[in-house]
Point group: C2
Chain length 467, copies 2
């Protein structure tokens, strides 16, 4: 069977009508319990079939002793059984014409013993013969929020809000970290895919699939090692610039390399070579989980800047200086405004203030109307490709952010606006959350992160243009 036939079934894997949980359990000490809970709590509205020869019902749902006896067709099988039982189950999946497998079970290529590798090769042989795409082994699973499908052992993934960033990760731990970071900052997610040991589905396959997925706008990848780097790079090149891809790769440390091998069964390899190849393929590399989330969330909401000319508008001078430093280091330009814009600002700020870019709105820091007028004028300035807007709460300026909200909502992202509105907990949070949920702004928690992320937007654009 061809690879093409395998990839063709990925759509059913991510959008199943029926999901069988092989190894389902009512015992909270078993992962099979947590997988059942994820599917049921997540509100999956297709059919769930718990499979366990020892139970008649699991979580109130009728169970089958094996998938062979199930009358209806099954699209996706989630397997949480001991490793030695898996080959037989794979043969049953073949017979049952299952469209896709999520293999949570560990104990394959990642373990420090040749039997693990052999077991994995055996499974690959069956899956490829049966033309079944397999996510895993050694994965927490997959989540597709657009289908309320939580096929993982972590029910809490369903707390995420539905959106258009898809996370593809070689590490379950990093997937959980990224998901919880996303939850804590109103970032909306399309899918989370734990590739694990990549039996027959790797990064290249996921990039190809997600490029045609209408529910994915931005891809965020976490990589350690890649089995077929050439395949990954070729696939990315073929899709260059179609959708933004941001990648974070670990494994530069020698100790990390050892860990990678025992993690998902591949060496991390030479970091610089990897990063060069990824860049060439139009994949933007960042160097931390935080930056991966900052940038992929921003790419999902903001338009790209047309150029490098950024306006910094700040309610207080210090945060503006911090942003200026980062902008200049990262190659952005704090450019002069058009005369019309400067005229408006000069009317709104007293003559002794810093009124040219960067604008210190300080002398009007608790005058909501002046701040509103300045932001509006700069938004309309053709000499400005993006705006960094910084305002720290200080009691007297309580109305400034609520007053700006209307401006953002009406404005529709003609150019990127990244804000840093910081208040004590509970004051501006609800305004920021509603603006973020409306896709009107990205709010980052320090001026440096705001500036760095704006710089990444520009650097990404430049990379894609090949400049």
């Amino acid at each position: 069977m061809s690879k093409k036939e395998i990839l063709h079934k990925l759509k059913s894997l991510f959008n199943p009508e029926t999901v069988a949980v092989i190894g389902a359990s009512d015992n909270p000490d078993k992962l099979g319990f947590h997988v059942m809970k994820s599917l049921t709590d997540g509100g999956f509205n297709g059919e769930i079939v718990p499979v366990n020869p020892g139970s008649k019902r699991i979580m109130g749902i009728p169970a089958s002793p094996s998938i062979i006896g199930v009358r209806n067709p099954i699209d996706l099988a989630v397997i949480v059984l001991p490793a030695d039982l898996v080959p037989e189950i794979f043969e049953e999946c073949h017979i049952k014409r299952i469209k896709g497998i999520v293999l949570i079970t560990a104990g394959f290529k990642e373990i420090d013993d040749p039997t693990g590798g052999k077991r994995q090769s055996k499974l690959a042989e069956i899956a490829n013969r049966a033309a079944i795409p397999v996510i895993g082994p050694n994965t927490f699973g997959i989540i597709n929020l657009h289908k309320n499908l939580n096929a993982s052992f972590t029910p809490e993934f369903s707390w995420l809000e539905k959106g258009d960033v898809t996370l593809v990760s070689q590490s379950g731990g990093i997937s959980h970290l990224l998901a919880f970071m996303a939850m804590r900052r109103n970032m909306r997610i399309s899918k989370i895919i734990g590739l694990g040991n990549r039996l027959n589905i790797g990064f290249a396959d996921m990039i190809a699939y997600l490029m045609d997925d209408p529910e994915t706008k931005v891809l965020a990848l976490y990589l350690e090692g890649v089995n077929e780097p050439r395949h990954l790079v070729e696939t990315a090149i073929a899709n260059r610039g179609k959708k933004p891809i941001v990648a974070y790769k670990t494994g530069s440390a020698s100790k990390g390399d050892q860990e990678s091998l025992s993690h998902t069964g591949s060496m991390a390899g030479n970091q610089k070579v990897y990063e060069g190849a990824l860049r060439q393929a139009g994949i933007f590399c960042v160097n931390s989980t935080q930056a991966l989330i900052d940038l992929s969330q921003t790419l999902s909401v903001c338009s790209l800047p047309e150029g490098r000319r950024i306006a910094i508008l700040t309610g207080q001078a210090g945060p503006g200086m911090a942003a200026c430093d980062v902008c200049e280091t990262e190659g952005l330009e704090i450019a002069p405004f058009k005369p019309e814009t400067q005229k408006i600002i000069n009317e709104l700020l007293p003559p002794l203030a810093l009124r040219t870019n960067p604008v210190d709105m300080g002398p009007a820091w608790y005058n909501s109307d002046a701040v509103h007028g300045i932001v509006r004028a700069v938004m309309d300035d053709e000499n400005v490709d993006g705006i960094i807007l910084l305002t720290m709460f200080a009691s007297a300026n309580r109305d400034v952010v609520p007053n700006l909200s209307r401006l953002f909502i009406k404005w529709n992202q003609k150019k990127p606006v990244i804000t840093c509105f910081i208040s004590p907990p509970g004051i501006w949070d609800k305004h920021v959350i509603s603006l973020e949920k409306a896709g009107a702004i990205i709010n980052l928690s320090s001026p440096e992160r705001a500036a760095k992320t704006m710089a990444c937007l520009w650097q990404y654009k430049k990379m894609i243009k090949g400049a």
Copy 2:
């Protein structure tokens, strides 16, 4: 009058019995309202004297037309009047033998007009003649949480918890940002001091004062430019290693320099020269507000590592790799354990797991007792100078963090432990908060930040030892 006499009064300035608010107001559009609110809401238990010739009572407190008519002595005067009225008030403060002034009013050396500089010189002349220390002008004020003294225009500063990190900042905006970051992560604060234009009290004076302040254990500085860099460096050298000082300096950008001048009236100067001088003086430089908070909070809670040998214990491999990369880049060593420790780990983890440092506790990731046993063994290992402990929530491991809590509480910080325990909102938060409040751990929100902060602890120690 000598500088010594001025500095002698700083203790009264930060620990006043009586505070006068000159320019107090009942009108929420005036900063004098917010200052009154800060003092009253903050629970200041000394006497508050609102001063305003147009009011009999302000916020229910009897007001005086001027300080001259006040019968009792006044320790601290907070001034929120227009700039041109301030010289006369300073003369009155001299007559009234006031011990310290917080001058919130702006419009002095920071404005782009020679009259501002002249006004400031005039005030300096009066203050120095009267031997009164002045915080400001152009400041939001000062906060001393140990005295419930919020002498600022931001009542919300009083929401902070009392602790032993003192923030000294040239920028009000950065002070607010740092304070809100601190609130959002259970960081406890001693004082926040907004130096503003530094009439006669600068960074060097504050370092000298805070070295003898029993309520300050760690100093966090935010600097733009310094009027007397030599004085600062000499003061820091004289107190080298006595208490940790962490500094973040902005102003590397040419645009930022322009902003600095118009901000608190000094050029930012050459960044590299500054950083070299600060380092020589035993002041540890970081390069973001986030790093300033991460490190100063950690220094206030953790002991310093005896050496560079760090253990990485991780519940999932990916976050461990991310931490490994940062540790190696930053010069830490992922060193072998003592045989006794390794033996215990080998008993707790299956043979095919990565059991040497970095330890991937993955195969036992939802076995709380095994995780507990491993952490405990590594804590006791003399080959380990510090521990980075990473665990991402995943439903099946819900008990791991609560189960570890007892271990940390009993353990008393023999060596630094930095954790990254991340869960969906509301699951581990209360455990993490209570551990942080007990000073038992520092929990950072990504493995990279945990590793970077551990590296800073070691680099600080090395710098102080002169190695």
